[in-house]
């Protein structure tokens, strides 16, 4: 796939979702995804029995020489050896794939050991690797936690973006005493939303379009942490509702997300109905930019979905450069680099001219973004408001944080008139359950 001119008609963008280990395999099995374009699913495991039971067609068994077709018994080192032994198998699995999603449960053997190896192999093959990993319950003990943390570090080194989902949070999200199936369903749903958000962002034709090259550019720094969150709102004031929902997304409140307020790169995807005014898109952007302290490098995607009348869904993926990783950007080896950035990535006739692809790299460019791109687009404007572009300018500059005070000043109740009680960027006077996004059913 090294050829610089790739025929996108015959050779469309390939996306593959690979589950590693028991938990990862299950997640892929249960992944019910709808989306445009072909989607390939695969599982990798050391355990013959589990692999045999999987309904998927593409299965890779690793470490036959190491474990003899059995599981690793929770030993991460064994998992790593197994993957190392079958590197060629793994390389074949990711060959020619552009975007690889790795799903794994960290803490036990195969997931912790093999997933980082697979990520490395995939990255070497030239794919953009995004991983969604589950972290073990804290009740599972220190050893699992340690294995998971080690694996997480290894994953961060190999992947462009690693989103971690602690299992503890899943239980917290569930109503009361969740059954095992309920808990699993929640975990699956989080992974599905994450995968789908990225997938649809680059494959669907958005109003403001994000393509694969933009994603690659935004995620070019490896070794950093990823912040992932989503919010949804419907009904009256759905924008506010969605932002509030996002603010309460439990994934944004992980203990190690101290860097929440200053991300280095931000991907924001907005999915709204045909009735959503453009001004709302900018309100969301402004808010997110302020919230995550990232005005310089925000990639905005906006998609119109007919079924989203009076509804909006926001997905945010931010990368944080914790260890000066910027000096080691995530770069694919030149030979394996698939293509220069310019050619259109979509197999179908592109809706916008490539030069007009309205990706935004800086918010300074905000004002000029859709002017040339949307207005001149031969494509019929999906939103009426697009024609009203000049009007937007009048409202934009004055918009500050004031509009979103409802998020800051609200819900302090008894402590309304007292000084803010700030601790690591949060106001402790606001009820904990609101800040952590715990649902209270009355």
């Amino acid at each position: 796939m090294a050829e610089a001119t790739r025929d996108w008609q015959e050779n469309p963008l390939r996306v593959k979702i690979i589950g590693v280990g028991g938990a990862g395999g299950n997640a892929v099995d249960r992944l019910r995804m709808s989306g445009p374009g072909p989607l390939e699913l695969a599982v990798v495991n050391t355990d013959f029995k589990t692999l045999d039971a999987s309904p998927l067609t593409e299965k890779v068994m690793i470490g036959k020489t190491v474990t003899g077709g059995l599981s690793t018994g929770g030993e991460a080192e064994l998992g790593r050896q197994a993957a190392e032994a079958d590197r060629t198998e793994l390389a074949r699995l990711v060959e020619g794939v552009d975007l690889v999603f790795i799903l794994a449960g960290l803490g036990r053997g195969t997931g912790s050991g093999a997933a980082p190896v697979l990520a490395e192999v995939a990255a070497q093959a030239g794919a953009l690797v995004v991983a969604f990993v589950n972290l073990p319950f804290s009740r599972e003990g220190q050893r699992r936690m340690r294995q998971a943390e080690d694996a997480l570090v290894a994953m961060r080194e190999a992947c462009a973006c690693v989103v971690s989902l602690p299992n503890d949070l899943i239980v917290q999200q569930a109503e009361g005493d969740p059954t095992l199936l309920e808990a699993l369903a929640i975990a699956d749903d989080w992974i599905r939303r994450g995968v789908q958000a990225i997938h649809s962002m680059i494959l669907e034709n958005g109003l403001i379009n994000v393509d694969f090259a933009t994603l690659r550019e935004a995620l070019q720094y490896r070794g950093g942490k990823a912040v992932f969150g989503f919010g949804e709102g419907a009904g009256d004031g759905f924008v506010e509702a969605a932002l509030r929902d996002l603010e309460r997304c439990p994934l944004l409140h992980l203990p190690d997300n101290r860097f929440l307020r200053k991300t280095d790169g931000l991907i924001l995807n907005i999915r709204g109905g045909p009735d959503m005014p453009l001004s709302d898109v900018y309100r969301i952007m402004d808010f997110i930019g302020d919230r995550f302290g990232c005005k310089e490098n925000t990639v905005l995607g906006a998609t119109v979905d007919g079924s989203f009348q009076g509804r909006v869904q926001i997905t945010v993926i931010g990368t944080v450069d914790v260890s000066g990783a910027r000096r080691h950007p995530y770069r694919v080896p030149a030979a394996a680099r698939p293509r220069p950035v310019t050619p259109p990535l979509r197999p179908e006739p592109p809706p916008f001219a490539p030069a007009a692809v309205a990706n935004k790299q800086t918010s300074a460019q905000t004002d000029s973004v859709e002017g040339p791109s949307l207005a001149q687009s031969p494509h019929p404007a999906p939103w009426d408001t697009v024609t009203a572009t000049p009007a937007r300018r009048e409202t934009k500059p004055t918009r500050g944080q004031a509009e979103f005070e409802f998020l800051a000043g609200e819900e302090r109740g008894y402590f309304e008139k007292t000084e803010e009680n700030l601790y690591e960027g949060q106001d402790l006077d606001v009820p904990t359950f609101i800040r952590k996004g715990i649902r209270i059913a009355l």
């Binding site: 008894y414 402590f415 402790l428 009820p431 904990t432 209270i440 059913a441």
Partner: protein, 404 residues
């Protein structure tokens, strides 16, 4: 025969102002001869927000307590809390003066002085200097006097506060009657720690957590010394406020509900179980799921502990605090709170009881730990306070300065 000294312990808390009057007999024995308590108005998160209201309240409580005791109070011991309290460790080092390296009292005094001398930023004042471990040539010793060492180090935990807030408190007391004087202001955590943890526990190493209405005060002991104190401006009032917001009921209802049905752990069966808001079957009464109550309280309580854990870092582990975590203060009566503490801190956690000498039943409530602790310090100041006193000396001058 000299008249016995009468001391008053005053805690201006976020939920109540409580006053205990103690009589010190012959400088060694303490009798609690009067007590009074009033609902506090104008204090939030441990800090005074309405000075005149708090003043009136405090004065009324003092009058009531004096009336019960039948005598006038000579001096006041006051507790302080709130976010403005901060502390830091400082080590005073001296080279031992004696030619043969025998450590003398003088060396000790010099080391203490240098440990306490650090200048504070504008608007801050020292509240207490608490002496910690002593090191003779790097070796930790109980009392270095008379030992041989070339270098003597003395560790101090210094608590400083916002000057304005401290003067406010002193003004409240001095505004009472004929200019009653404040003898000492002690951080609430230090006072409670004295009562909630036994000598053995403090020697072994323990963390005392006083969860009050407006603040959570904690004090960490190691080898009998205070090594850290801290205030988290979150307390029982936040639990109530969370309930009131989460269940959409008013603050008073939420407070009642918290006291009656509140618990910090989510249990099996909470899902389908309900409690009535009022229980009087009147209009407006409604059932509230236990699960909602437990979830709201659990989240808050767990957060308080995790903030504490973050603050203390490696200082809190089963090895570092063999004496465990001891909870006290009004909110420690919340069922299940010790369990949450154990889960979050990873250290054995229990609700403390007062020492046996507190015989009056009403004073055995954990909410009285701070005031009792103040009285205890008052007694100590009179009798065996020699050593501690020395550390306090420069501060007393400071208080007098603030007084004017």
């Amino acid at each position: 025969m000299p008249r016995n000294k009468i001391i008053g312990a005053v805690e201006i808390g976020s939920s109540k102002i409580s006053v205990l009057v103690g009589e010190i007999e012959g400088g060694r024995e303490l009798n609690i001869i009067g007590s009074a308590e009033a609902t506090s108005v104008g204090v939030k998160k441990g800090e005074i927000v309405d000075l005149s209201a708090v003043s009136r309240c405090t004065h009324a409580t003092l009058i009531a307590a004096e009336k019960k005791a039948g005598v006038q109070v000579d001096e006041i011991f006051l507790s302080a809390s709130g976010q403005h309290l901060e502390g830091f460790t400082n080590i005073g080092t001296v080279n031992v003066q004696d030619a043969d390296n025998w450590v003398s009292e003088h060396d000790l005094r010099c080391a203490g002085q240098s440990a306490r001398q650090k200048a504070l930023p504008q608007g801050r004042c020292y509240l207490v200097h608490i002496r910690g471990a002593a090191y003779a040539d790097g070796r930790e010793v109980e009392n270095p006097v008379g030992m041989q060492a070339a270098k003597l180090e003395l560790k101090y935990w210094n608590v400083h506060a916002n000057e304005r807030r401290i003067t406010d408190m002193i003004h409240i007391i001095s505004g009472y009657d004929d200019g009653l004087s404040v003898e000492e202001i002690i951080p609430a955590s230090v006072a409670s720690g004295r009562i909630a943890a036994s000598d053995e526990e403090r020697r072994a190493g323990a963390l005392v957590v006083d969860i009050g209405e407006g603040t959570t005060d904690f004090v960490l002991y190691r080898k009998g010394h205070i090594v850290r104190t801290g205030v988290i401006p979150v307390g029982g009032g936040h639990l109530t406020n969370d309930l009131s917001i989460g269940l959409r009921i008013n603050f008073k209802q939420a407070e009642r509900l918290k006291l009656r049905d509140g618990k910090a752990v989510i249990e099996r069966g909470d899902k389908d179980s309900h409690v009535l808001l009022e229980g009087d079957l009147q209009i407006g009464d409604r059932p509230i799921p236990r699960l909602a109550i437990a979830k709201i309280l659990n989240a808050r309580v767990a957060e308080i502990f995790s903030i504490m854990k973050n603050r203390l870092g490696s200082a809190i582990s089963p090895q570092a605090v063999p004496g465990g975590v001891i909870l006290t203060g009004g909110t420690s009566s919340l069922p299940g709170i010790d369990e949450v503490g154990r889960d979050v801190l990873g250290v054995d956690t229990r609700v403390g009881t007062h020492p046996a000498w507190v015989t009056r039943k009403d004073l055995r409530d954990p909410g009285y730990a701070t005031t009792l602790g103040l009285l205890f310090f008052g007694l100590q100041g009179q009798s065996l306070g020699e050593r501690e006193r020395k550390a306090e000396a420069p501060r007393a001058g400071l208080l007098r300065r603030l007084f004017k």
